[in-house]
């Protein structure tokens, strides 16, 4: 049993190692995404700094600082979750582009091990990017984390990542089923999640039907909890109302995402879509 788990972990690690090697070879693109992440996060922070000038409201330093941090937590947490979503959703499209999809699906690796390996690689990359973006933004904008509860924030981020993985795996199905337009469909899902999850604003300002969608998005709870932990120093007990729904979404979405993926793989094999070209 332990040997079997060890063997599966070894197989899953093959995908992590492969992704790290690919990141090194495509280093110029990694720099592009990093710069893009820094610039967009910084732009959002400057919107916060400029709020008094834009609205003509008070220039209360504490309030402005809180707004900047509020926006930064949203944008960087979203960057972290978004990277997980994008890389997982692109798993199939990328392998199709490289021409390796057939070989990967022929490999003697259980699909769950394959997808978990990809999740591991994705988490490493998303975490590295998010830390680098936060560090870079802190050079330009004062970031006050003196009240932050790092433990609660870390747990929320981890749970959020797990919860997002299920959604991302399910979205990776689109490029598997629709060889030409599937990736675009996955990006639409990502955009809708961004809109309804309260990345830049409280979800209470959304129209009623959007609030229903925000209710099922794991990002809603993660971002809300991260704000509580980093802005107000909420501990694990205090963030529990946001932690358990994210855990629940993860507990439902991962097995569901896996099942959807396995169904899509069977469908692709029936219809001849498991191939390098569209």
């Amino acid at each position: 049993m332990i040997a079997d788990v060890g063997a599966q972990l070894g197989l899953a690690y093959a995908f992590v190692e492969r992704e790290v090697a690919l990141s090194k070879r495509y280093w110029a693109w990694e720099i592009v995404w990093l710069v893009y992440g820094i610039v967009t996060s910084l732009s959002v922070a400057y919107i916060g700094l400029a709020a008094p000038a834009i609205t003509g409201g008070s220039e209360n330093t504490a309030a402005v600082s809180r707004l900047v941090l509020y926006l930064l937590i949203g944008t960087i947490t979203w960057r972290f979750l978004g990277l997980i979503f994008e890389q997982m959703a692109e798993t199939i499209a990328w392998e199709r582009w490289e021409g390796t999809i057939e070989y990967t699906f022929m490999a003697p690796v259980p699909r769950i091990t394959h997808l978990l390996g990809m999740c591991g690689a994705t988490l490493v990359r998303a975490l590295a990017f998010s830390v680098a973006i936060l560090a870079a933004v802190a050079l330009f904008v004062p970031v006050d984390l003196s009240h932050a509860n790092a433990l609660a924030a870390g747990v929320l981020l981890l749970v959020g990542a797990v919860a997002f993985v299920g959604l991302a795996i399910a979205s990776a199905v689109f490029p598997l089923l629709w060889t030409e337009k599937g990736l675009q469909m996955a990006y639409i899902v990502q955009a809708v999640v961004l809109l309804v999850s309260g990345v830049y604003y409280p979800t209470t300002i959304l129209p009623g039907w959007m609030q229903i969608l925000s209710f099922i998005s794991p990002a809603t709870y993660v971002i809300r909890g991260m704000r509580d932990a980093l802005l107000d120093g909420a501990d694990l007990v205090a963030v529990w109302p946001n932690l358990w729904p994210a855990l629940l979404v993860g507990a439902i979405s991962i097995p569901l995402g896996m099942r959807v993926f396995l169904w899509a793989e069977r469908h692709a094999k029936r219809t001849g879509r498991l191939k390098r070209s569209g």
Binding site: L11, R18, G99
Partner: protein, 278 residues
């Protein structure tokens, strides 16, 4: 488990390496998005057996169903009707066990283009349970034998010629030592010298690793040179089968004459009813 299956196969000499019984596959236009097109019957009630240690050549014009058949045997497609077993294991029911026994080299080498030959092969080894340190030593020795210099082993694959890439694909088969190797037009587009080298490696693989080989080709000379038995596929149906000498005796003349007699056309001419997987 994988080792036990291999041991069982080695001792059971009578089981066919590959047994296909009345296998059919058709591709239908999408019911969801009506884009036109018609149902294409790519493989039509094909039955064939490949015996252990044999090189079986599958001859057919473009569009005759060769690649569809190979993709069915590779677990990349599911048959609509009929059964396929590899060393007695059903490709649907025992998919993972079957994947441990097979490898495929297709007309285009499936590799991560920016990774080196070494990185690609170590990754392939990991997926097949070969530890990286063991892979590295083996890869160096195999690639040297295939005439690839040490310096080129660390270059990105897209810097190597197609002939060299195909040798790396053959090296992958040497590394993972499959019991059944599926070669889908492995020499198409190669110059004469590379073609001969690849053909030599195919023979070596059979002789040194006790591998069984199914080779699809539209090169009559290659089929005659390599195959112990030949099957001729025409419009998805297996129209003849036998050793080159048997086919010549049965239908008269050269292998080209046999092909013309059975199909009514030259092998260079494509079949109209070819499947999309061709």
């Amino acid at each position: 488990m994988a080792i036990q299956i291999r041991e069982r196969i080695r001792t059971e000499k009578k089981t066919a390496a590959l047994a296909a019984c009345e296998v059919s596959k058709a591709f239908r236009p999408s019911r969801v998005v009506p884009v036109g097109g018609m149902t294409v019957r790519a493989v039509d009630a094909v039955s064939l057996s490949v015996w252990r240690g044999e090189i079986y050549g599958l001859l057919g014009a473009n569009g005759s169903g060769k690649s569809t058949l190979i993709r069915l045997f590779s677990t990349l497609l599911t048959p609509e009707a009929g059964t396929v077993s590899i060393f007695g294991l059903d490709i649907g029911r025992d998919e993972l066990a079957v994947k441990r026994l097979i490898n495929r080299v297709s007309v285009e080498a499936s590799f991560f283009k920016k990774l080196s030959a070494m990185e690609n092969l170590v990754y392939a080894g990991r997926l097949c349970g070969v530890p990286p340190e063991e892979s590295r030593a083996k890869v160096t020795s195999i690639l040297r034998r295939l005439g690839i210099e040490d310096a080129r082993m660390k270059e990105p694959l897209d810097k190597l010629s197609r002939g060299m890439q195909q040798k790396v694909a053959i090296a992958r088969a040497f590394l993972t030592t499959p019991m059944l190797l599926l070669l889908d037009e492995p020499t198409t587009g190669l110059d004469i010298r590379s073609k001969r080298e690849v053909q030599t490696f195919v023979r070596d693989l059979r002789d040194e690793h006790d591998a069984t080989i199914l080779l699809t080709t539209h090169d009559l000379d290659e089929a005659a040179r390599l195959a112990d038995r030949i099957g001729i596929l025409h419009q998805g149906r297996l129209v003849a089968e036998g050793t080159p000498a048997e086919l010549a005796a049965r239908h008269g003349g050269t292998l080209e004459d046999v092909f013309m007699t059975l199909t009514g056309r030259r092998i260079e001419e494509g079949d109209e009813a070819g499947g999309p997987a061709e």
